[in-house]
């Protein structure tokens, strides 16, 4: 009798354990490889077969996929943070401190959420850079680039609205800087050029509508919270659906024709 080699032994062991869990084997046939993709609600985002260069890291850089993955990480950690955080100027900072020093794993959750937000801004911009370098915005993918630009903007806005939520000096003054620019919007900000023609004052201009008042106070915190946790994620999700669907419709990953 011939001694089975190591590779066969590992395969045998894996099949043995697999069989104990799923009660049937996985036969590696073309049919099954296709079914793994098309009969799985998550994986059928992909086609059953892809062009080979599209699986190569040196072509794709994987940055779009990683951005999406980090977005999912942000959703999960964000939901966990919401259990402990109250968007109230008297509680927000104390809740953040609790997260950092009292809540089990609270510090880790907040750190992952914050660093993940930075990572997402970086990966989305590298993704855009790769798409530009490979000319992947050219027909038939022109409109998907446009969707992508809006997703880039939403990534910035998601991160920016989250910046205020800890209600610390860092966020407060960063939002103040940002909103003071809003005050200078031509026509629509009360200190902007030509705004007198529309009768803009501190009580009715674009900054007022963004922060819900004339200073960064309780309404601004609530607005940032609602934009951050509900409105922007919903809009971004809708656009992501279009973005991913268009990749498939436009012929999958780009490449030499």
């Amino acid at each position: 009798m011939k001694d089975p080699n190591l590779k066969d032994k590992i395969k045998e062991t894996v099949e043995d354990i697999w069989g104990s869990v799923f009660r049937h084997g996985y036969k590696d046939t073309p049919r099954n490889r296709i079914l793994q993709i098309i009969s799985n609600v998550w994986l059928h985002l992909h086609p059953a077969r892809v062009r080979e260069h599209g699986t190569k890291l040196r072509f794709t850089w994987c940055m779009g996929g990683i951005t999406f993955f980090v977005f999912l990480v942000e959703v999960v950690t964000g939901i966990l943070l919401m259990f402990y955080y109250t968007p109230d100027v008297n509680k927000a900072f104390a809740d953040t401190m609790d997260l950092m020093y009292t809540v089990p794993f609270g510090r880790l959750m907040r750190n992952v959420h914050r660093w993940g937000a930075h990572a997402m801004v970086i990966t989305v911009s590298i993704h855009m850079f790769r798409v530009f370098l490979t000319g992947s915005y050219k027909p038939p993918r022109r409109f998907n680039w446009v969707i992508g630009v809006f997703l880039l903007l939403l990534t910035f806005l998601l991160s920016f609205t989250g910046y205020l939520l800890p209600w610390d000096q860092l966020g407060y003054w960063a939002i103040t800087v940002g909103m003071n620019m809003g005050r200078a919007t031509p026509l629509f900000g009360h200190e902007g050029p030509f705004s007198q023609f529309l009768g803009m004052t501190a009580n009715n201009d674009i900054r007022f509508s963004l922060v819900g008042g004339t200073t960064i106070a309780a309404p601004a915190l609530l607005r940032a919270y609602v934009w951050h946790c509900i409105a922007i994620p919903v809009i971004a999700t809708a656009l992501m659906i279009v973005h991913f669907w268009r990749i498939r419709k436009d012929g999958g990953i780009s490449g030499r024709l």
Partner: protein
């Protein structure tokens, strides 16, 4: 129908194209990428705390008060432009430019692969803009101290810095003439010396491409005017300064 490929083993099926099975080729890589990112993020977050300042105090302004790093480039532009331009009009132009980009670039070459040779205009312009953006982000984030004063890397931030030189504005006619001359020359030169470039784009695309490009160059030009010649505004009117 017994010979249907569905019944066949892996080795017996051939596809005469350049595709591979998504399962497992791509799915495995995606899974590994996700795992790698998750572990990296957890590892980093375990050791490095996210920034958190003191409790917010509207009466105690931070100095310098900084926007998040990805907007620090725009904040840095506040040195050179008024807020209506640096904070609102310029980012809007960048956004509109990015949205229009696929419709402005009508060069059919370089679609789906990296080629500098076939995209001699698009590549350098986009990359310069990208680098310009991150350069401003770097300066705004790392090199600006109290009162938004410039400090070199490694130099300690102090409140004891030399008084910056006084700034002056260009006389209005000179400023307007300069702006018009800049755009007029910018629009005209390629028409005469890069005939192909102009003809391939057509009038409308050409106008939009050059308008955006000249605005990008002009933004950098204003920075140079300020740093080298202490010019604050090139145009001063009762309604608008530029």
């Amino acid at each position: 129908m017994e010979s249907s490929w569905q019944k066949k083993e892996l080795e017996e099926v051939e596809f005469d194209d350049d595709t591979v099975f998504t399962w497992p080729t791509l799915v495995v890589k995606e899974f590994l990428a996700a795992l790698f990112v998750l572990v990296g993020l957890l590892f980093f977050s375990f050791f490095v705390n996210a920034p958190l300042g003191e409790i917010s105090d509207p009466s105690q302004a931070e100095n310098p008060a900084k926007a998040p790093w990805y907007f620090a480039g725009l904040q840095e532009q506040l040195v050179y432009f008024d807020p209506w331009f640096a904070g609102v009009v310029l980012p809007s132009i960048i956004l509109v430019g990015l949205i229009m980009l696929p419709y402005l670039d009508n060069n059919p070459k370089g679609n789906g692969y990296i080629s500098f040779k076939e995209r001699k205009f698009a590549m350098p312009v986009f990359i310069s803009g990208y680098v310009f953006w991150y350069l401003l982000v770097y300066v705004g984030t790392a090199l600006r101290g109290p009162y938004w004063t410039f400090f070199w890397p490694g130099q300690a931030w102090t409140h004891d810095f030399p008084t910056p030189p006084p700034l002056h504005n260009l006389p209005l006619p000179a400023g307007i003439a300069m702006l018009i001359a800049f755009y007029a020359a910018g629009f005209a030169i390629p028409i005469f010396f890069k005939r192909n470039f102009f003809q391939n784009l057509g009038v409308v695309r050409y106008a939009l491409v050059m308008g955006l490009l000249l605005t990008m160059i002009g933004t950098a030009g204003k920075i140079i005017l300020r740093l080298a010649f202490d010019v604050k505004y090139i145009i001063v009117t009762p309604w608008i300064n530029l």
